[in-house]
Symmetry: C2
Subunit: 247 residues, 2 copies
């Protein structure tokens, strides 16, 4: 038996999310089906994070055990072949030890949120950005974002269906910058609550539009009440970009 670490890119548009669901097709199921086509073995593919329906990944990490002997390069090429026509690509495959666990060994996760901030609608990036037509000030968004960095009770930014035991998390980084017509929000933490990044972005957007100030974000955080936060930004702007592991 070999355990393989997979680095995966996907367009989340047509999926119910990473995880297999009764309600539809998950990226996980697409990869598991590809593993079965390669090895003939029923496979369980463990992802590092459960992305929501419509959320994309540039660097999701997963692991899978395969009994038959295959090289990492064969696994990569065969899975990519069997994954067509789904918008899922296996970027890297690495042979890892049996104690590597994509989810429990993860030391950090990084997300990017892309807002297309211009009056004309998106075209080439349709379905891959949140289109906000009203002008946003990335500088004040970045300043307000710093209120959310650190060790806090993030109940205000937690979806009601969140299954985490505690609402307390440590946000290591929350940066906002303008890149041409886009506003990029990057966020890093060991782990996240359900909808946490999208709730951050929905709140920061209010700041960028001039309706809230940094102080309002601070107050919302302190209230520990989801109703005190801004709306949930749509999934199509969100990308799981990186999962890191301790050496």
């Amino acid at each position: 038996m070999s355990r393989f670490k997979l680095t995966i890119e996907y367009d989340g548009s047509g999926f119910v999310g990473w995880q297999r669901q009764d309600s539809g097709f998950g990226v996980q199921e697409a990869v598991e089906t590809a593993v079965f086509k390669l090895s003939g073995e029923p496979a369980f593919v463990q992802g590092a994070g459960r992305t929501d329906s419509g959320v994309h990944a540039l660097g999701q990490i997963a692991h899978v055990d395969i009994e038959k002997p295959f090289s990492a390069a064969t696994v990569r090429d065969a899975l990519n072949n069997h994954l067509r026509p789904y918008p899922v690509s296996i970027l890297h495959v690495e042979d890892v030890s049996d104690d590597f666990h994509a989810r429990y060994s993860a030391a950090g996760r990084a997300y990017l949120y892309r807002i297309l901030n211009r009056r004309p609608p998106p075209v080439l990036d349709e379905g891959q950005v949140w289109w906000v037509a009203t002008p946003l000030d990335a500088k004040v968004m970045h300043e307000a974002a710093q209120e959310l960095v650190g060790h806090h009770d993030f109940t205000t930014f937690r979806a009601s269906e969140c299954q985490a035991k505690s609402p307390v998390k440590t946000v290591n980084k929350l940066d906002v910058s303008r890149v041409g017509d886009e506003i990029h929000v990057t966020c890093e933490a060991r782990s996240f609550l359900h909808h946490q990044v999208r709730n951050f972005v929905g709140t920061l957007q209010i700041v960028g539009a001039g309706k809230w100030r940094a102080r309002d974000v601070h107050d919302a955080l302190m209230k520990k009440d989801r109703r005190a936060g801004g709306p949930t930004a749509p999934p199509e702007g969100l990308y799981l970009t990186r999962v890191t592991y301790d050496e």
Copy 2:
């Protein structure tokens, strides 16, 4: 009557190209239909360049005359509204003088060609890059590209159906660089022959794969014979990025 200069972004995938054709729907026709819906006037939209079927634009320029009085901002917003659901967006609209001509006043055109150079297939950029799985050396591609810069007879890189009077053009810039998993080819000239950039890229790809050297590109150019050049790169990697005008 007012003449408006339009800056247009489009995803060329579903179109027969910029120009209206008997064979299908052109971007030009989509914009003309939107103008008619705004003004009730049959309109002719003159583009700066005729992009091929499947070629994208980040900054196509066109002009259109409208009799009824509208502000530039109204034209932009109304055309974007009427253009839905087509993947065409009017980025800017400017009121220009009657002697401005999108095609004949153009002093320069710039293209970007994106090659996704990795073994796993494209996902988020599907239809927006040329996927080349074999490793390419961007440095030797750039060196070979310099053989094509300057004033030359480009018959070797001209499509047989090209309607230009002369095969002689001046290429001001042809740069190749690696950007992560992508190879970007940027090209600037006053004007181009039909398929010229795609034929450049198809030839430079042979160099990047190590099968040709800069000298072979030079020899192919000198032969003034399309059969001496490399293949035509596919349309989906090509973007008309900018059209410039003298002040």
